[in-house]
């Protein structure tokens, strides 16, 4: 019986900073996330619509990087990701998924790029060269 208050205290302490998979945010947190998202949305649209750099390659790199940053902002401020929720398992699931997604995306583009390169239509002379 004497351990009951201790247990209750421990539970209360835990409960204060631990809310399962979706910890609750604060008004301030949501507003910071929202403002950051607005900025991170407007910049890439401005870069593309205004053709600010005049170089598609540079613009594409910026657009992709801003997209990744915005995804992090959403994960942190809206989805409240942290390393502690559910004993770290949500973070493990996320890391696993990110790895699989990167393999699927980069792998597909890499393989299909090579396929395209090797399947390019060849000129007749070139084909003659390659004949055994």
């Amino acid at each position: 019986m004497s351990s009951a208050p201790n247990a209750a205290n421990a539970a209360a302490r835990d409960g204060a900073d631990h809310h399962g998979g979706a910890a609750h945010g604060s008004f301030r947190g949501y507003m910071i996330g929202f403002l950051l998202s607005v900025v991170l949305t407007i910049i890439p649209f401005w870069l593309v619509m205004g053709d600010v750099f005049g170089n598609n390659m540079v613009t594409a790199v910026f657009v992709l990087e801003l997209g990744v940053v915005q995804i992090f902002v959403h994960m942190y401020y809206f989805l409240h990701m942290n390393t502690k929720s559910e004993g770290g398992w949500t973070m493990m699931a996320l890391i696993f998924t990110v790895v699989i997604v990167l393999i699927a995306l980069i792998g597909s583009m890499w393989v299909m790029h090579h396929l395209n390169t090797h399947m390019m239509p060849m000129s007749p002379e070139h084909m003659m060269h390659q004949m055994p």
Binding site: A8, G20, G21, M31, N56, V63, H74, E86, L105, M109
Partner: protein, 219 residues
């Protein structure tokens, strides 16, 4: 007499246990999570599997996105101003859902429902703009059958739109439940799941507008 006393003591311990469990809900170390029973983690894993579906569709679009088959290219078709507006609709719906969650934390039913309705409205605006865009594309002959680019485009963006549609249906159902039964623990858990779902859709949309629309127009 002694027998009765011991029974009483056992009873009171049981009651204490029950109250403790109920009062502190999620948060008793490893096993804890009495109120959500791991639902949040399970739902998160569902979202991660959904993420894999979208990854496959993104990869397909990355591979096929330039195969126009002498048809229209993204630069001919996409109206970036429209996409910017619909992006903001989704962003606004995300923040208003956040406000609904904050009201839910304070156990205020009416404001929660109001913010849910506002979220539903912005979600509806997003969906309406998307349908308008699609009908516009169809009108110009840019149907999914036209080229590999358009097939993968409609599959990816359409799948996202379908998710938003189901999120909105879920929102109506949940709104009715909150209206009828108040913010009971079950409804709170459901609201938290829908919150994750809704914010997740916004994350996917970041990928769509960056990769499909903005980079599509650049090529």
């Amino acid at each position: 007499m002694a027998h009765t006393a011991s029974t009483l003591e056992v009873d009171s311990t049981d009651v204490k246990f029950y109250v403790e469990d109920d009062g502190h809900g999620h948060g008793e170390g490893e096993h804890g999570h009495a109120s959500d029973g791991g639902t949040m983690l399970g739902f998160w894993i569902y979202l991660m599997s959904d993420c894999l579906i979208f990854a496959c569709l993104f990869a397909t679009h990355a591979v096929l996105g330039r195969n126009y088959a002498a048809g229209p290219s993204p630069a001919d078709l996409f109206d970036l101003k429209l996409i910017l507006v619909s992006t903001f609709m989704l962003l606004l719906s995300s923040i208003t859902y956040g406000f609904a969650m904050l009201e839910m934390d304070k156990d205020r039913v009416k404001p929660t429902l109001v913010w849910l309705a506002v979220t539903f409205f912005f979600g509806g605006c997003f969906l309406g703009l998307e349908l308008y865009e699609f009908s516009h594309l169809f009108h110009e002959g840019a149907t999914p059958q036209r080229s590999a680019f358009l097939s993968s485009f409609f599959t990816l963006v359409g799948t996202h739109g379908l998710h938003v549609t189901f999120g909105m249906i879920w929102m109506i159902v949940l709104g009715v439940q909150v209206w009828q039964r108040g913010l009971i623990p079950d409804n709170k858990r459901r609201l938290m799941c829908l919150s994750m779902f809704w914010h997740f859709l916004d994350v996917v949309w970041i990928g769509v507008f960056s990769f499909v629309y903005l980079m599509g127009v650049l090529q």
